[in-house]
Symmetry: D2
């Protein structure tokens, strides 16, 4: 019989992300077989004990707890999964690191560069695998873009243009959830969604050397939440008193990359008609690549070397011939969903644990993204270019 | 604590479909909560005992067996899931029905109308839930099309044009898997893929009264398979002896619907560049609907009543505001994958069991589709219109 | 100085088509230089003398007439351009042929095969150039499809699926213009729009051997027109008495091609949201081609021989590297409009005159399309396959 | 008979733009009838007398000249059309203004703000109509966007993102045409293409208050041209000595609009696979608008007020129900080409002359765009935000 290690997971947070991660743990071996390891859904933590018990039943965990510290203290737990709002990431992760657990933490790594540094410092010299869950770079089409770039298929990169456009909070009556509160979220569209595109830009192009940004808050007040929350942590349609939004609704930044490329990122939650519109367009000396997550089975690529009368963007549907394809579905366009990005993420995380290596994006990456975020905030405040410090070992 | 019934599943077949169904059982309560029932992955059957044991471990089943009859005979099993090649459907389903199990059977229901009738006869008077797994009608965008039609949003339907285009067997060197053998598959592109579109046509437009078809076999011989199989049941790239293909590669049919609408379906596995290109376009007296599964998060709809200078197809991304949306992902375009169609299917199947009702498409539907298939085959042979008999109770 | 012959044109009909042809004559030398000949807009005919005079001024003709026979009788006229409703084509064309004029005639060639035969008989042994204005095959992207096919880039053609979907008469209150009257138009969507797709199918795939069709009339009565007409020959929004529509609103046909390929054509004027949706998809043994006139700058092509992980439809924007590109605009996507299809048509027509050759599609082609139309009508009436007779010579 | 004034045109420049303008003069009355005036193609100027004579014949002008001053001096000329390289615009326009001619000048108005100011000063107090040929804002879909915005259909504008991406000079071996020489062109992608998007941004959103830009020159040397030129003024594929490119290949700028909106423009000629990719996306408080010139028959618009389960971008094909539609083609998607943008431009220009009014964009607009260009250049050099001065009067 094939040997595969059981690895016990303690998941902290039973919301939308808890669901996505639970799915990944259940499904990963179904997709990738032999699996690098077998995740065991051991304990799930939620502040309310009844909700915790319900989450365990729903998401297939053996036990539940209302105190995340019991997970940290449990010697049977190998992996701590942090799927809480942002302000709790640092405390949990540092405790988990000190307890020698492998850690996967939802993005952004923390509210600020400073918090992120503390987290990185806590893990960097320990023999643990740490990962920050920028899952979209694991969309097979994005991994294919990376492969093309590494193969030199589009030559030297000249520029990168990325967007993350949503509209779920474009309504001024959508509530003041934690995502609009700096004390919990750290920042707004910047940390919540722009970071995914920044992660992709670093992954595909390279390090940022400087940024030049504008932050906008289009809806300065929103209805205060009273009770309950939907999957995004919001209660819709509030009519009561309004509270101040102290984060950005939109970020726009220009980028200078260390390798000489230039670029821009735009992220907003006020783009009516855009839902999860994560896109990038990359121009190189030998070709171009275009991606749109809303049509995530596809990658578009143009090769300058194609015969003149047969040249144009190729729409490649990812499948078995492409990254992660052997583990996914047997033909292209059968359908990559959000779950698959998390399943692949789990695969690579457990593979690193199993093989004793590391995985990307890790806490160093998460910290680097936080430094970029800090530079963006500073740039927007000072209305000038700001150099981005680089994480070093 | 919320009461939810545990229902024990015996799954027969550990290939691509076994994987998809296992995913659905694990994930269904994660998505739809409270779940109508809690599926328990009890036993999985595969002919080879070692492969069966491996499948159990991979897909999260408690036990395995190399004899599917042990599942039928097991009084603890509530649900039999048939995910085998087509020629085994009838025997298994009839045995399961006689044992009083609820049954979900992969599509097409069987190889012929006659076999399908025997299956339908076996279930129709029993107190069991039966379902045939035409999962694509459960794509949220397709369910949304159904909702629009039922609301009268496009008026009376005039015509329907559907396609299912693939290219995975367009290479003459792709092997003679069971899908190219009439004795196992019953038919070719007709039963394998056209049936999905026929199911959608019935679901969205209504019953077929007559068909007029052309069947084509473009690659008359393929390399005989020797060992192993990929997820579609094929071994690629054979070099050895070739065997005869006795099923169709392509089907094209015109349709007369009972309600006066007309239409056509085209399905082929020789369409280079098309992967899982399931599409339909429906024209009604008050609007039109267009769907393409390769971009399955979207439905296009045009309302004739829109103001003249603002009229055009709307591209609606399905999400919480649309069918099944509350159970899926919190915003549109986060990503519906193939798995979600199976998760929804499982939800509706278990809901029918839990509530003591029935579900569509059931064996009557599967039998009706088989009668349409038979009529298509007869039509193609006789080169004439053929009336479609109607399943009656 | 470059020698180019002046050729005097007499244009009969000052409606939408008169406009398009006048544009072509004025613009052709601007685009294609040196021009094969210089068209001189000499005389335009309209039944009403005042409208004729106004049309001359508007469309840049030197003279006008209210009697088309004066054009036939004028020895200075080299080219007769027939842009009238269909019922006048035959009489005018036969007279023009007898007078030895070169002839370009709007499509369809005539109302029936019989009329078309008379026209073809009138020209076939004369030393004149004759052309039927199926302009859409001259869209550069369609000409590029032809080039690919001739180069063998997609191998042997297996099937063809074409559509022509419109909605301008989907409103039951749109008037009973001549296009809905058999005595003038000959047929409905069949002759008016399906013929364009049939022309493309013959151009790209080859001759039809048999058809099997369904014709539908969705709106059996329309308001009678009283006065005036818009550019399509209609007066919109009638409120008065209704008259009977005796032509088809929609045609759907299956096709057997002489070379073994199969196919289908669907044309309707009741497809809300479709405007000038002329599409085809062609599958060959080595690749596929997809075209949509609503995005006419583009042709999509997939080559089976592309490297597995870089395979997918290429979206080729036509420009200088493609057919007719040197004469059009200096870069792709600058914008091919309807006018360009007519400018290219004029170019090829005058080139044939100048060089003493012939041009396609000519009256033999127009007659062949009419025979296909007749077979479609017969097939729909008899509900059976009908063989298509072939034009000989 | 309808009275329409003949207006004699002297066209300076017989290249690609000369062709486009000649087409517009010939076709305008065919499309818009009664025409505001009848343009008479009187004289065309090219430096070489033989080429001038040939251009007259090709483009339908009565006479030709090798000295543009003869056009200025000719009292019969009403309109001077400047279609030369940029460095000649100012001298010709100022002379024409002094001679009291109406002037249409190709874009950008001149090489710099200073030159543009001189041109504007020359016309501003004279009783002449002046226009700068930013034709793309006259694409019907762009005019429809303007209409929606003016109707308040998308509410208050929050941001604008525009691009103009091309690849015709992405090849380092494409020649050092005048477009790469500052002394002739003034700037590179900035003046040549970004100005079109800047014009649209001003048209649709409003005045720029500040810019913050990056300019890049990706190909610092190109082959020197020796003889001849294609339609863009280039000779392709040079092998000889190389000369220095002293303009930008790419511009990226952030924008602050006076009304509080923010935005960005990116233009490059090094985007492999992009041909004439002029796009914008505008987010407002009540909806969004998206345009892509490569699919110029279409405008996408999303209304936040649409019913939740029917909301999404509508793809509106422009036609008779939309701006300029009555004059163009009788149904949408018949095909708007580049020519149509010029035909509409000519219509509006002659209408202003005929009615004694003014037209937009005029020399004030052209000057304002030049001031924005100057600010962009300064911003890129200083790496800081630069305020944009406003044209007054």
């Amino acid at each position: 019989m094939i040997h595969m290690q059981n690895l016990n997971v303690g998941l902290i947070g039973g919301g939308f992300m808890g669901k996505a991660h639970s799915l990944a743990y259940a499904a990963m071996p179904m997709f990738f077989w032999p699996a690098p390891a077998l995740p065991v859904r051991k304990v799930i933590a939620e502040a309310n004990p009844e909700l915790a018990a319900e989450a365990a039943r729903r998401f297939g965990f053996e036990n539940s707890t209302s105190d995340w510290r019991t997970i940290i203290d449990d010697p049977d737990i190998h992996v701590v999964d942090i799927a809480t709002p942002n302000h709790l990431h640092a405390e949990i992760a540092i405790a988990a690191a000190e307890a020698g657990k492998h850690i996967i933490c939802e993005k952004p790594l923390a509210r600020t560069g400073e918090e992120s540094k503390a987290m990185y410092d806590a893990v960097k010299d320990k023999d643990i695998v740490h990962m920050v869950a920028f899952n979209y770079r694991r969309t097979p089409a994005v991994a294919l873009a990376k492969k093309y770039i590494e193969e030199g298929a589009i030559g030297q990169i000249l520029n990168f243009r990325g967007t993350y456009l949503q509209d779920w909070s474009a309504d001024p009556n959508s509530p003041l959830s934690w995502r609009f509160q700096k004390s919990i979220a750290g920042s707004g569209a910047l940390g919540d969604i722009a970071t995914h595109v920044i992660d992709m830009a670093r992954y595909l192009v390279g390090e940022f050397s400087a940024v030049n940004a504008v932050l906008s808050t289009w809806i300065p007040e929103r209805p205060v939440q009273t009770a309950g929350a939907d999957a995004l942590g919001t209660v819709r349609g509030g009519e009561g008193p309004r509270g101040k939004v102290d984060v950005d609704d939109e970020v726009m930044t220009m980028i200078r990359f260390a390798n000489g490329a230039v670029g821009s990122v735009e992220a907003t939650r006020n783009a009516h008609g855009r839902n999860n519109y994560i896109t990038f367009e990359i121009h190189g000396t030998e070709g171009s690549i275009v991606f749109n997550y809303e049509r995530r089975d596809e990658l578009q690529v143009c090769f300058a070397s194609d015969q003149a009368d047969r040249r144009g963007f190729r729409t490649v549907y990812t499948g078995p011939a492409h990254p992660y394809g052997e583990g996914l579905w047997p033909i292209p366009a059968l359908g990559i969903g959000y779950g698959e990005t998390k399943i692949i993420e789990a695969h690579d995380f457990f593979k690193a644990i199993s093989e004793g290596g590391s995985v990307n994006p890790n806490f160093a990456d998460g910290y680097q993204v936080a430094l970029i975020d800090d530079a963006i905030i500073e740039s927007a405040a000072k209305e000038t270019w700001v150099e981005v410090p680089q994480v070093t070992d």
